[in-house]
Symmetry: C4
């Protein structure tokens, strides 16, 4: 594996659980994939997988690292208050609280947050309306549970906020009001989506980003 | 080969024929190529190659797998009713019936189905007209049998439908009505094209996607 | 090196000259580079390097091959009438005559022909004017001999033609009329550019394609 | 490592300091990254890292090389007058004087200059205004020191000039007038940004290029 721009993170971390290690490899691959597509530019984005339910534990990407250049040893274990349990200087993003909220609201097994050009543009364009509908596309069948292109998917947009406790409450209320939603946008910020497991969540990112570009180009 | 997001598919499958194995490697490469170009996002798309004519047998990609992350051992053998002959839990897409129909109508040796931004947009924009013409471009010579850029290619658009038996009949009638067509679009869905063999079909995907982007940007 | 979609071309070709072999490796790399950028879709494009002047001999890419999947052993030796000297079934493109013409008119050591979205669109948009000017961009300094962004580059556009003898004459007259031009477009077809050697010609492709996209987006 | 298009530069250079060598590897990776994204087309762009302060010394990329194909042995050591200290024919770009000026004005540890489509378009579109503001985007937090998306970033635009001494003075005065700016554009030319170290500077390139595309598409 080539050297990378991420520093200050030991790649030798004895005592990591096999589950964390196996999950970490998958998160590294997801990071490379999204980096290639330009969805995690400039160390943006964060990804998590639930590795235990009682108590709730996550494998999660470290803050301030290039997501396309991660090593498995850099993936952190996190508790349900957003605190890193893995020793060392690396920290999780303050946005990790949103991951916890989504897992609690949806029972998700993986949560992915990406920053793309089209999610940024559309979250701005349709922000005042609080969201927008995507309807009639075959790709909608890639969102778990959808059986037909005739599905109408409402993608909620939440105003951006640096107060994560307050933002978590707003996100939770949107998730409760829109129980069928497969993701949401933070305004001028990016996409959150999730899945029963990491492959499903990766699929949801790709499906939603594809549809965002289609809607974005169609309505330009 | 790196690990991937595809799961639940054994990579050790004794008893696979050498022809299936050799073909499978080529399908894996096609998948990587199209994934890099963004044409099979979120496990979309499916690809097949005819490996026997009497009785008709296909090598075909499994449903619900990331097409850029396939292993050769995941490619399935399929009969002419769309049933997987390869033992194991993996299934072919319900759309496999369209592959069978295309092979019967055209005598094709390979059928490729991709989902791109531009095919989605143009199939919507020109859907009511039932298709559109592409004319005057040198790249048209990349469609088998064309000798000049002065060729006029009609690209039919078929309404999307989740009833595959009904959709197969509609596709068959369009293929019969447009004997010169090298592909068709499913509305708000994607592209189908084919070739005498896999390299020719891959070429047709690239040629048609190139022309779709040209037409899409020109008519925006 | 991975297997690829190109077939029917032996990779073991005794008697190839060391110069052809060394040049062939460079052409393979150029092909991969342009394929990644989407400029040689569907086996389009062709590239040549002069390997001898007396008599004039070229290393040139074979026709009908994916340019991002070439092996060095597939690169052909060609004479100044566009005939392949390398034994085997592979042939050079009929457009090879344009390479010969450009080498004769400009004394170039390498000629590259690519098909991009933006060259196709702009060659159409400005075709009736016979070309267009690119002026005021720093990237113009990447065209050999230019010392300032204040340079005004005229990019001629030639009507496409399947008669290569006739097209060669038209190209020659345009090259003679525009002695300062670093390239030209064939209408609804693509870009030709050249250089003293392959790296310079590769640089010219990238500089011109960059400028084409800038002009294309600015004038949309 | 594959062969490349860069020539005339020895890859065996005894007497290079370990710090230069280590830094060079990081610059090679940055070059590949930006080349993939299309920001250093046609040998454009240049990157430097400060490797000593007293006297001031840089590791810097050579002029006229493809930035995605660099070898570590091609990275040069440079003094504070823009002169290469590494023996051999390779030279640094005349623009290296801007790197020196930026390091002096900002105390930066790394300076990166890229040429993208969107920086070219926006530097032209907003050039008469001398710059433009980027405001309200979460990605602004990726610029060092910003704590909120509510930040308003002014991106100055400086007229392009081939007289590097004169341009250096103008750049210095803009940097002094805009002490909060994280980068600037040269008109119809490209982006300069910097950071405390190379990873921070790489992050700033990606953040600013992302925001340029967002602003560019929004205002088209």
């Amino acid at each position: 594996m080539p050297e990378d721009y991420n520093r200050g993170l030991s790649t030798v971390q004895p005592g990591r659980s096999p589950l964390l290690t196996a999950t970490a490899e998958q998160l590294v691959l997801a990071g490379r994939r999204f980096d290639t597509r330009g969805w995690v530019m400039g160390t943006s984005g964060n990804f998590s997988v639930v590795i235990a339910r009682e108590p709730l534990r996550f494998a999660i990407t470290p803050s301030a690292a290039f997501k396309g250049e991660l090593h498995a040893g850099e993936i952190l274990e996190m508790d349900d208050r957003g605190a890193a349990l893995t020793p060392g200087p690396a920290r999780v993003s303050a946005e990790a609280l949103l991951h916890v909220e989504i897992v609690r609201a949806r029972g998700a097994g993986a949560v992915l947050h990406t920053h793309s050009i089209w999610s940024t543009l559309l979250s701005d364009r349709f922000g005042d309306a609080g969201g927008f509908a995507i309807e009639g596309y075959e790709m909608l069948k890639g969102l778990e549970g959808n059986r037909s292109h005739e599905h109408r998917e409402w993608l909620p947009i939440v105003d951006n906020d640096q107060d994560m406790t307050r933002l978590s409450r707003v996100v939770r209320s949107v998730l409760d009001e829109q129980p069928e939603a497969h993701g949401f946008l933070l305004r001028r910020h990016g996409l959150y989506t999730w899945g029963a497991d990491l492959p499903q969540a990766v699929r949801h990112v790709e499906i939603l980003e594809f549809l965002l570009e289609v809607v974005g180009r169609k309505t330009s």
